[in-house]
Each structure stands twice: as C-alpha cells, then as structure tokens.
Symmetry: C2
Subunit: 172 residues, 2 copies
C-alpha cells in the first residue's frame, strides 16, 4: 500500500477564535512585527500609511470595512481618500497580510503572510469574530472533487458563518 506524500500537508490554524478577553495588544504587535519582517525579507516597503492601515485592520478580530478604515485614517491623516485605503489594502492583500471576506465586503488581518496558503474563514454571527484555517483536508477534498470534472483551481474561497463556542456557551 502506497502513501501519497503529496497529500501529507499540514492542517494549520492560522488564526483561532480568541477569548473575548485576551491581550489583543499582543496580537496587534505580533502582526506588525511579522509584517515588517515579511516586507524586509522581500525588500518591500511597509510605508507608514500601509502600516497604519494594517494596524487598523488588526484593531480587533472582526472584519473591518474599507470606509471604516478610511474614517479612522482621516483622523491622523487628513488627506486620506478612498484610493488611499484601497491601495493600501491591495498591497496588504497581495502580500497575504490581509484577506478580504467577500461575503461581508470586509477585511481581516492574517498572521501568516510567509507562504501562500488556502484559507477557510469561520465567522461568528454573534461576536463578529473570524477564525482562519489553512486546512489541507478541506482544500484537498475540494481539489479532488474539482478534478472529477476536469476543473483546475486557481483560488478557493470558503466562508462559513455560524456561532463560535464562546458565544454558544454564553447564550445558555
């Protein structure tokens, strides 16, 4: 019996649900640090503007709207306009530092920019928080199913809505 080594990919928890009370300052700092390092290594410029937008995206684990970012950005940077935000978000998305949640038209930070990975998002209807997986089983199964009808995948979007453990517990 053979083992398919190609399929021996890891299932990762990119970003788990965090307790309502956690030291979020640490999440933010870790994200900025990772972003700086990522850009450093690749010779990319995490300009003050881009960093500020990234910080605003990371103000919580809830997806943030572009125009929400714009409102906050304006407070310290009066020349901001929609393109200011969308360009920064484009850059951050290209670098895997931010993902767009298509079903919400909103953006979340990603703590693992180093490598391209699959993403599965779980969005809690109660607290609004998002968890992100890079689950090779899910991604692999979808690819397998696609291959059955000759479909070659470029990009997978998986956005799951429901209720996280903590919110379910607190409703009892």
């Amino acid at each position: 019996m053979s083992v398919n080594y190609n399929s021996m990919k890891k299932n990762k928890i990119i970003n788990p649900f965090k307790p309502a009370k956690h030291k979020h300052q640490d999440c933010l700092q870790a994200a900025i640090k990772a972003a700086k390092q990522h850009c450093d290594v690749l010779g990319l410029r995490l300009t003050p503007l881009r960093q500020r937008v990234l910080e605003l995206v990371w103000q919580s684990h809830e997806p943030v709207k572009a125009y929400g970012i714009l409102d906050e950005l304006k407070q310290g940077h009066s020349s901001s306009a929609p393109p200011t935000v969308y360009r920064a978000l484009d850059f951050l998305q290209e670098q895997g530092l931010v993902h767009k949640i298509e079903s919400l038209n909103a953006y979340v930070g990603c703590g693992d920019p180093k490598e391209h990975h699959s993403s599965q998002f779980f969005i809690c209807h109660d607290c609004g928080s998002v968890a992100e997986l890079d689950d090779a089983d899910i991604s692999g199964l979808i690819q397998k199913k696609a291959s059955h009808f000759g479909f070659k995948i470029d990009n997978e979007m998986v956005e799951i809505k429901g209720h996280c453990q903590e919110c379910r517990d607190s409703r009892k």
Copy 2:
C-alpha cells in the same frame, strides 16, 4: 465496524458545466417550469416580474449582475428601478431559485429549489460559466472541522475559481 447512516447523504451535481454549444432553451424552460411548480406547491406567487427576472438570470450559465438585469428589464418594463430587481432577486433567493455569487456580486439560477442544500460553486475564469454542486462530502468535512473548535454552522459559502475542462481543452 459501524456505518454512520447520518453521513449517507448524496453528493449531487446541481448544475454541471455545459458544453459551450448546448440547447440552452431547454435549461431555461426547465428552470421556469421548476420554479412555477415550486411556487405552486407552496402557494407563492411567481409574478410576471419575478418570472421575468428569473428568465434574465437564466439567460446563460454565467452569473448576472443586478444592474445588468435592470437594463434588460427596463426594455419591456419601463418602470423598473433598482428596488424592482433587488426585491425580485430577494424573493428568488429565499426560494432557492437563485443564488448570489458573493465574490462576483452576481446571481445565478438554481435548478433545484425544492430543498435547502449546501452549495459549492465552481467558476470558470475563461468562459465565465458556473457549475454548482451539493456535495455532502465537502459540506460534511467542513462541519466536522468546525465541530473540532465548537463552531456551529448556519451557512457555508464555497466559491472556487479556476478553469473548466472545455476551456482548458480549447487552449491547447
């Protein structure tokens, strides 16, 4: 060894990729017929406006934009405005006759309104066509993974972009 009968759900192809040349009139007619029957059974009103919007969504297997529908609707129904279209789409979506592709802000017809089902959409970047599965394996795996961290799913959005068999063949 036990068998989990709960998981014995069927994997369905709700809407496969169709050959570029197929008798699309048949798809359209079947969809309208199914919609009429669906509404009949439930005592819902598939008004001329709603039926017309459904027909416009079914003009092809490519997702259609709301304002595209509006433009076409106006040609035979000059009083149409955005709410005209969005209301009809809301009704059709509630009945499972139409799905929204979130990543495209566009709408596709569904040939299987009878029961609520999971949906996995496969969108070809070349021809623009969409295929829809109701795959219990994918849906089940996602639910299983979610249960590992206590997440209770309300709704799954799976939208896969890539290249369909026919388009891949014709590019060789």
